[in-house]
Symmetry: C2
Subunit: 405 residues, 2 copies
């Protein structure tokens, strides 16, 4: 049996190199570890325009009434609605046209435009289509109801009203209302800063380079509201991994590649050397060599380098940490759709399987197994299903939840 | 009747200021105008890492086989599966350990790691968990099936295979496969460059400033894959609007505010003066003063300044143009969910109503009418419904499609 370097590691650590995983954590244990460490980050202040997609760190109250004053909402003539009762084509009402700046005199109307303050005494605005104007007088040929073309002070929103609750994600359509009600800045949850340490492919192997997983992970981190703090490429040796993980400045560190049982799978040893490797090996396909640890209080996820395993490990574990710290819903960020299984989905008892599937005739069928097809299967897939560890598969005719890409 | 300035405008143009809209286009006519002008833009080349969220301008084929060679996918010992037939705990197989660089000799095995080329002659890899290694020989205690732990050249993907079809939106999970199959650059549809010309609120009115609609529209344009080319603020006078619209460099121009029937609603006159104002006034609530025109071949949308009208006009018309030019699905970019109406949704015969609604007990109810509540209603809403022009409303119990925010 080859010699293993256990001297530098804590008592709990077990070097799996050239031995294999004899004892894997369950997906539930790994998830619980993530959830215990994924506390919401502190708040920061941003401008309203920069807040789209961010998560609110406190509820938002209107600073001002909206509208700020009794307000005209249509172009036309402001008048007293009561004076128009009984008016019609054969019984027109003649009103004197006056200035909009002074209160309305009896049987008078004032030319107004949407957005202006409503002249005192007026309670409705008649649009141009409904009247005949000529020189200094106006002929009204129909009755108008009180409040038409008018919005009262605070009618949309009064100062102090909660516009958005805590933890809401700011949407494009919120911006107009926030700005209109006097709000210029918002308190939002800080974006998790994620460091990528690309431990790279096996030495001398060009199967998938450092540039395969890195761009994919960067895009997934951005989707989940995280910020890529830095990317350390070619961290192939243990000392380089240690140095990259030890540097301050990140909220989460993802070490990508070199997580398995090969001789140069140094990532688990590096974490055990400088921190605590809590979990190495999860009963999961793909991504069974996933690791979780803490270095100087910062959670570290060891992500397998094989691209499909990297993708699945991110979606299940690393992404959950990013989403939790950023105060987003921790679950998979995909829509869920129930579908009937059309062709047996094969699984292995004792392992959670993530299977790529596609929709066929309203049902769903697997694309390869959890271990075959690689990322090519995930690209052809419409989504994936999670097969619980106790099952050896899902039979045709059963209904299953599909996480839709 | 006040004098109207028609002298500077084309024959078709009708000045609605202080007269009103007597003749509005239907939503269908306005949509058809948009669709006839929203041709897909040309392609540009970007790196794979920058392509997430972009629309492909041509199909993408794998440049190389994936994997590039017969490849090991597990850490362990490569061997001939045929030699393990009949092997068990009471009938172990002894294999000599040899180098992985030379072809496998009979009854031999070679130490390999995932990602390495498969040694010649080997057809399976046994993980460390399934064997006992000692010095120069290996004890195999179980049979292994052919192909386990092995991926054949081109098994995931062969060179020339289409990975992604034309017009697909590039997803985070596509990046790994694209890079692994030798692709570094992609041809994507150019982002529509959108100019915002903020014609501003009515003169002297502070109800909603230039900074209310602008940031909201910028965020919506980004959501739809457009680029804000420039923002021209305080374009209040007709000459300023004309100059801002006439400048080259934009694929789409949105003039925001001053679209109505008030004396200083100069935006329609500006477009009629320097181009063609095809439509002004749409049978729609809100956003009835929407305008559509062409200046030097560039489509111009006149967007009402009132924030809810601005939002609805963008979603229906301006956004459709952005989405079309960028080769995205032109429809509303919201999920659609059918729901039962719980409380009557009031509408006006002859106008399409966009009503803000919220979900209650699995059904749906209106928040204000299409004309009341402003953007505050849209912020409280879970989505909106579109009531066709011929209907005077939707009765309780009817089922309706909700566009979910």
């Amino acid at each position: 049996m080859p010699a293993n370097e256990e001297q530098s590691c804590g008592g709990q650590f077990r070097d799996v190199r050239q031995r294999g995983f004899y004892d894997r954590a369950s997906v539930e244990q790994a998830t619980a570890w993530i959830d215990a460490r994924g506390g919401t980050l502190a708040a920061e202040v941003v401008t309203v325009a920069d807040a789209v997609g961010r998560v609110l760190a406190s509820p938002v109250q209107a600073k001002a009434d909206l509208p700020l004053f009794d307000c005209v909402t249509a172009d036309g003539y402001a008048l007293r609605s009561g004076e128009t009762i009984g008016t019609g084509d054969y019984n027109p009402l003649l009103l004197a046209i006056q200035d909009a700046d002074s209160p309305l005199l009896p049987t008078s109307a004032a030319l107004v435009a949407a957005g202006m303050p409503l002249p005192g005494g007026a309670d409705a605005v008649l649009p141009f289509e409904a009247l005949r104007a000529g020189g200094s007088s106006l002929e009204v040929c129909r009755a108008v109801a009180q409040g038409v073309g008018v919005e009262r002070k605070g009618q949309q929103l009064s100062a102090g009203t909660t516009i958005l609750d805590n933890a809401r994600i700011v949407h494009q359509r919120h911006l107009g209302l926030l700005l209109a009600s006097g709000i210029e800045h918002l308190k939002v949850v800080r974006r998790p800063r994620v460091r990528l340490v690309i431990a790279g492919p096996k030495l001398g192997v060009k199967h998938h380079g450092p540039d395969v997983d890195g761009p994919m992970l960067s895009a997934l981190i951005a989707r989940d509201g995280g910020l890529v703090e830095s990317v350390v490429n070619r961290a192939e040796r243990r000392e380089v991994i240690c140095r990259a993980v030890n540097a301050p400045g990140a909220d989460i560190i993802l070490v990508v590649g070199r997580t398995g049982t090969g001789a140069d799978d140094q990532a688990p040893l590096a974490i055990a050397e400088i921190g605590e490797l809590a979990i190495h090996g999860v009963a999961l396909r793909p991504a069974g060599s996933t690791g979780l640890g803490l270095v100087a209080g910062v959670p570290v996820v060891l992500i397998p380098g094989e691209p499909l395993a990297c993708f699945c490990c991110y979606e299940l574990f690393a992404g959950r940490l990013v989403r939790r710290m950023g105060a987003r819903a921790p679950e998979f960020p995909h829509a869920v759709r129930e579908a009937e299984v059309r062709r047996k989905i094969v699984s292995v008892v004792g392992l959670v399987d993530l299977c790529q599937v596609r929709f066929v005739d309203g049902g769903v069928e697997p694309i390869g197994s959890a271990e075959s097809g690689g990322l090519a299967a995930a690209v052809r897939a419409d989504g994936f299903v999670v097969i619980p560890a106790p099952l050896e598969g899902i039979a045709p005719g059963a209904r299953i939840n599909v996480h839709v890409y």
